[in-house]
């Protein structure tokens, strides 16, 4: 019967739609700018003007160590006072305390969410996968600037990095 076939088609369509929701959310958030996530991509330098604002604000750096005994991962400076429009640099330090190679990537997060789209990263260790040899201590550079279009009411930004090991599917479970 026609009705039943159509209804079964709707069911199958909605099942796959639930998987499609994942890319769809990201697309909708990008298009509408409703995105609270900070970008993991390199920004072009010319996207913001060279006018340096006289405003001052604080940026705090924190890190989440998912497995402290294996990898120590800390910012070199915990706080900086900066002006929007100017490029700054800082370092994170990673120490591989284990006896094996660690491969993984740092995932950034910005608080408040609203500030995320104004934090421009020119160069960041989070753009690509990192490999740490056993016992190695690595300094990871970060170059960033705050877009001067950011609302004035935001006085403090917190940038947090969590370092996640790349999942080895064959080893899981």
């Amino acid at each position: 019967m026609g009705t039943v076939k159509k209804l079964i088609f709707v069911c199958v369509f909605m099942f796959f739609f639930s998987f499609a929701l994942i890319p769809l959310y990201n697309i909708i958030c990008d298009v509408t700018g409703l995105n609270g996530n900070t970008s993991n991509l390199k920004e072009k330098v010319n996207t913001f003007s060279e006018v340096v604002s006289t405003e001052k604000l604080n940026i705090q750096f924190i890190s989440h160590e998912v497995n402290k005994n294996k990898l120590e991962f800390k910012p070199k400076e915990f706080e900086m006072t900066i002006s929007p429009g100017k490029v700054y640099s800082t370092l994170y330090v990673a120490t591989n305390k284990s006896n094996s190679k660690i491969v993984g990537q740092a995932i950034p997060s910005v608080s408040p969410n609203e500030a995320a789209k104004y934090l421009k990263k020119l160069e960041c260790f989070c753009f690509e996968e990192q490999t740490f040899k056993p016992g190695e201590v690595v300094e990871l550079p970060l170059y960033f600037a705050i877009d001067e279009k950011m609302p004035k009411r935001i006085k403090t930004i917190t940038l947090s990095y969590s370092f996640f090991e790349a999942i080895d599917v064959s080893k899981k479970n």
């Binding site: 909605m14 099942f15 739609f17």
Partner: protein, 523 residues
């Protein structure tokens, strides 16, 4: 209304257990669904009483916290998927064919399958109570990463949900096919009883969102066992994404749980007010608007996850918009009663109780819709009070109203009226005693899903626990009354109720095993 051809020579069916295992008769399957729901109602109720026993006093008394959390999780899963949904499907099976003048459901064999999947799904779900690591305890919403920490029970939980979903989808397809194809000549869409209309819309909701739930829990399953990272931040996924997918299913789901009650109440109020339903077509459009709006409000369940302001404002306003069609319905019911020649038999009492107490739940829902206020209410007992008001004196009362209303038709016997009224008043008293104090402790900050609480919440929790036990025991009257009515009693007339309108009342009480083999004539 019409002449009914009583066709009794097809009544032969296998006897004993085989009758029920192999039946394709819509009335038999309707009864099976209703019995199943009643049994699960007591299992889920027992879980609620474990919760209320533990919360009777502050401190940990009876169960360990892990088991307490299992009880809240399982209570919700059982009550939603095992009680309210099967009970409504049972009513649909019994009533829709005879309300639209069709001989049976459109797909009788599939109807049999969709019922018999349910006992397997729930055996699987309930068996997790005896597994290593305990039953699922992360809440019925299954948020990762917590739900991924479930022990051996996890795959059983996921497959039980798949089976429940399959059963609901098959039931829904059957109901849509029946309504669209099996109506008697002259039964146009806008002549259908509202119960049929609300079920048609509910069935579309089911078909649209149950596969989304199936997809979401499948992703949980592959995240746990096959190394995918849909919701795993370490692999680039996002745990909040699950909440979006879950509530994209979950919000239409709450209307799946309430829309058929609107249909039941719209059948009962005109009967006992002895007036036609006020604003029939506005009721149809209001139901359809509620169903449409249910797809664009899901994120009001997750205001506190850190959404952009624009998102919070949109979901707040869209949610409040639902109050408009819902208000249309409530006012239509009240207007139907206005200057009617009302009598207050048990189904009418339950229906009026539904309107009053469902509206209380609706108002607390409006309070929760206000984003800034929701930051205070979120995950407190205020939310528990809200959804229990719309589900217990809402959906459950409507199901009970429907049972009292149609039981004489189904069995051919009148139920004992006084006992029915006693059941109503005890239920109403105790349901309020249980859930009203939860508003106060919730506003004062008592969090949900935690087995212990601060001393200042003690008195109201004790009251709520008394109420819960009272409500639970009052339901034994309901079982007694159903069994007694099936066994015998004062014979019901074909019309049963003085003001009853509709094709079901043109059949004998009880109706023949096969009815409307010849389509009735619709005026």
């Amino acid at each position: 209304m019409s002449t009914v051809v009583k066709d009794t020579h097809h009544d032969e069916h296998p006897s004993g257990i085989m009758r029920w295992l192999t039946t394709t008769n819509h009335k038999d399957i309707g009864s099976l669904y209703l019995w199943f729901a009643l049994i699960m109602f007591f299992i889920g109720g027992l879980m609620a009483l474990v919760i209320r026993s533990e919360l009777f006093q502050p401190g940990l008394q009876f169960v360990d916290p892990q088991f307490f959390n299992s009880m809240t999780t399982m209570h919700a899963l059982v009550m939603i998927f095992g009680v309210v949904m099967p009970a409504f499907t049972g009513l649909a099976n019994w009533m829709i064919p005879i309300m639209i003048g069709g001989p049976d459901m459109a797909l009788p064999r599939m109807n049999n399958y969709s019922f018999w999947i349910m006992p397997f799904a729930f055996s699987m779900l309930l068996s997790t109570l005896f597994m290593d690591g305990g039953a699922p305890a992360g809440g019925w919403t299954l948020y990762p990463p917590l739900s991924l920490q479930t022990g051996d029970a996890f795959p059983f939980l996921i497959f039980a949900i798949h089976f429940m979903g399959l059963s609901s989808i098959m039931g829904a397809i059957n109901i849509v096919a029946t309504i669209l194809n099996m109506r008697a000549p002259g039964m146009t869409l806008m002549k259908m009883p509202l119960f049929v209309w609300t079920w048609l819309i509910t069935a579309f909701l089911l078909i649209a969102v149950m596969p989304v739930l199936a997809g979401g829990v499948t992703m949980l399953l592959t995240d746990k066992f096959f190394g995918t990272s849909f919701f795993n931040a370490a692999g680039g996924g996002d745990p909040v994404m699950f909440q979006h997918i879950f509530w994209f299913f979950g919000h239409p789901e709450v209307y799946i749980l309430i829309l058929p009650s609107f249909g039941v109440v719209s059948a009962i109020i005109p009967t006992f007010a002895r007036k036609p339903l006020f604003g029939y077509s506005s009721m149809v459009y209001a139901t359809a608007s509620i169903a449409f709006l249910s797809f664009i409000v899901w994120a009001h369940h997750m205001f506190t996850v850190g959404m952009p302001l624009a998102g919070e404002v949109f979901f707040m306003l869209a949610t409040m918009l639902i109050a408009v069609p819902t208000g249309v319905k409530v006012f239509n019911w009240v207007t139907t009663m206005w200057r009617g020649a009302m009598t207050f038999e048990t189904p009418m009492l339950f229906a009026i109780g539904f309107i009053v107490m469902f509206t209380i739940g609706g108002f607390s829902g409006l309070m929760l819709a206000i984003t800034p206020a929701d930051f205070q209410y979120h995950d407190t007992y205020f939310v528990v009070a809200h959804f229990h008001y719309v589900l217990v004196p809402g959906s459950i009362f409507a199901i009970m109203a429907a049972v009292y209303f149609w039981l004489p038709k189904w069995t051919g016997n009148m139920y004992p009226e006084t006992l029915g009224k006693v059941h109503f008043w005890l239920s109403t008293f105790f349901v309020n005693l249980t859930f009203f104090p939860m508003h106060f402790v919730g506003l004062a900050g008592m969090p949900r899903r935690i087995p212990d609480y601060s001393l200042q919440f003690a008195d109201y929790n004790m009251i709520a626990s008394f109420g819960a036990f009272g409500f639970g025991f009052a339901q034994l009257i309901f079982v007694y009354l159903i069994v007694k009515t099936i066994r015998g009693g004062e014979k019901a007339t074909d019309e049963v109720w003085e003001g009853a309108e509709g094709l079901e009342w043109t059949l004998s009480s009880p109706p023949p095993y096969h009815s409307f083999n010849t389509p009735p004539v619709i005026k």
